[in-house]
């Protein structure tokens, strides 16, 4: 198999005195979906912008398709598609023109565009909106159009910055399906999201990042096993006096305590009868909160 789609080594980015990314190493293998998870301000978008060549790294190495990002040729750049966090569709143009104008930036010939635009709109279920203005589209349609636009050059690598934020569940499910289709076709996806179910469903590998550093990485299930065991017991306070919780990994979240447990029976046998608790499967959200903490990031 060829070189990884993306290789980052000691990658850093500072804006003046603010260090957005503080030396991260990661790889994205081809035909995989990798999720970059982290709270707001963790450095996810900055990392994606560096990969796209929209932001120059301050230090470290960043290669895409084996080539340093700064030296990517036009042809190599055309193999990357971007779904940015903000919809930056062209409000002055129709749906069709948005794709057509974008396609020309990739030097795609008219005949090819005439073929590809309807196909992409069909793929994203936007065929009826061919001649609509962008501002007439719903939030979900705009997002689908941004995704269609990212695919106009038939890219091998697609970078998705919060592709489903703000969408209703129907639209999210539809986009997930499409992303899984793309993965099956052999595309490499790098994705950020705040929806842990989305990451768990789509990603082969997760990289958890905060304050510009990587906290941990691995397949979703490995991260769950490693950090939150597999089962969570949320036990209401006050705890009965006889309960010895020393042997279980736990975390105080204020009015309750979370216990991370591998085998539920061992834990429930230990538990006094009158305790109020809630038992559920551990998920990626638990991992995320354990690794990045529970404080709000935006004041």
């Amino acid at each position: 198999m060829s070189a990884p789609a993306i290789i980052a080594r000691g990658l850093e980015k500072s804006y003046g005195r603010v260090q957005a990314v503080r030396g991260i190493d990661f790889e994205v293998a081809r035909a995989r979906c990798v999720g970059l998870l982290g709270p707001n301000g963790a450095g996810k978008t900055t990392t994606m912008r560096m990969i796209m060549g929209l932001t120059t790294p301050s230090a470290g190495e960043l290669r895409v398709f084996g080539e340093p990002v700064a030296k990517l040729t036009r042809r190599q750049k055309a193999r990357i598609g971007l779904v940015p966090q903000e919809n930056n569709l062209d409000p002055d143009l129709s749906v069709r023109q948005n794709l057509e104008v974008y396609g020309r930036y990739f030097s795609l010939p008219s005949a090819l565009l005439a073929e590809r635009i309807p196909a992409l709109l069909a793929f994203m279920q936007l065929s009826e909106r061919l001649d609509s203005g962008v501002n007439q589209l719903s939030g979900g349609m705009k997002r689908r159009l941004v995704l269609a636009r990212a695919l106009i050059s038939d890219p091998e690598l697609v970078i998705l910055d919060e592709p489903t934020t703000g969408l209703d569940p129907q639209a999210r499910v539809m986009i997930w399906k499409r992303l899984l289709d793309l993965k099956r076709q052999g595309l490499t996806l790098l994705l950020t999201t705040h929806y842990m179910d989305e990451a768990q469903r789509l990603c082969d590998e997760i990289i958890v990042i905060d304050h510009g550093r990587i906290l941990d990485r691995g397949p979703p299930q490995d991260l769950i096993d490693r950090h939150v065991k597999g089962h969570v017991f949320e036990v209401q306070k006050p705890l009965p006096s006889g309960f010895r919780d020393g042997q279980w990994e736990h975390e105080d979240i204020g009015d309750a305590i979370l216990y991370y447990v591998e085998t539920p029976r061992a834990f429930t046998e230990d538990l006094p009868e009158d305790v109020v608790y809630w038992h559920r499967q551990a998920n990626l959200e638990d991992v995320f909160l354990r690794l990045t903490g529970r404080q709000l990031r935006e004041k």
Binding site: L54, L93, R104, Y105, F106, S153
Partner: protein, 260 residues
């Protein structure tokens, strides 16, 4: 050579995007381009023209039409690469979307400047047509000859506008641009009266402004007067150099603003 062609293709793809947008508003755009000079000529014909008979050896109408051609081109180019470009940079994020493709910043800025130049030429030609119908064009051949000079100057005005956009943090910034760049060219560059009417200490200001140089070439051509070749060459060089320097400044400033 291949790279030069690629730069041209990508720049023109950006220009084409602006053209597609303009095509949707073509009638309002063209009608304002035609109405503006008509309104001005009314004012000057029946207002100022009644008082001012001749200016710098020309019938006042013949004096003012070339000035208005230059002014309308200057205004159109400047407006496009300031208010227009800033909207695409800041508010619509069109530039961000464009730069995520193989289009480079150089090509994006060239494409913007080319389109601003196209709009300037449309504007100037509308004035030329209105002026001709009004009887303010001394030499049709000369007027056509003046168009390449207007084109060059429009390109320079466009890149000067890009400098303002490169430094602008908000819309308010452009009030400086209009007050300290556009208005002085309206007032000092000889659009409505000859530059030598100013007191000596004002004249240097006039000669700093590229518009003054543009008018010095356009006016004799449109009026059908003789043009001192060497002098004209000086004006052309000044305008071209200013435009080139402005482009480099805008490019460098935007590169660090967008990518660093």
């Amino acid at each position: 050579m291949e790279e030069a062609r690629a730069i041209a293709t990508h720049s023109l793809a950006v220009t084409r995007r602006q053209y597609l947008v303009w095509r949707k508003v073509i009638w309002s755009s063209l009608s304002t381009n035609v109405a503006n000079p008509i309104l001005f000529l009314f004012a000057f014909g029946f207002g100022l023209g009644a008082v001012v008979d001749r200016m710098a050896g020309l019938d006042y109408l013949a004096f003012v039409v070339p000035g208005m051609m230059a002014y309308s081109a200057m205004f159109a180019a400047s407006f496009e690469t300031t208010v227009g470009s800033f909207a695409r940079l800041d508010f619509q994020k069109t530039w961000d979307a464009t730069l995520a493709t193989p289009v480079t910043l150089l090509e994006l800025l060239l494409g913007e400047a080319f389109w601003a130049t196209c709009k300037a030429m449309i504007s100037a030609i509308c004035v030329l047509v209105v002026g001709a119908l009004w009887g303010g064009i001394g030499s049709a051949g000369g007027a056509l000859l003046s168009l390449p000079m207007i084109l060059l100057a429009a390109l320079a005005f466009a890149t000067c506008g890009l400098v303002a956009t490169a430094y602008a943090r908000s819309w308010e910034f452009f009030s400086y641009f209009f007050t300290f760049w556009i208005t002085p060219m309206f007032v000092f560059s000889g659009v409505f009266f000859a530059v030598d009417r100013f007191p000596d200490y004002v004249e240097p200001i006039a000669w700093v402004l590229p518009m003054t140089h543009l008018i010095q070439v356009v006016r004799p051509l449109v009026a059908g007067h003789e043009l001192a070749l060497l002098e004209a060459l000086g004006h052309v060089t000044y305008v071209a150099a200013l435009g080139a320097v402005a482009f480099v400044v805008a490019y460098r400033r935007l590169r660090s603003r967008l990518f660093d």
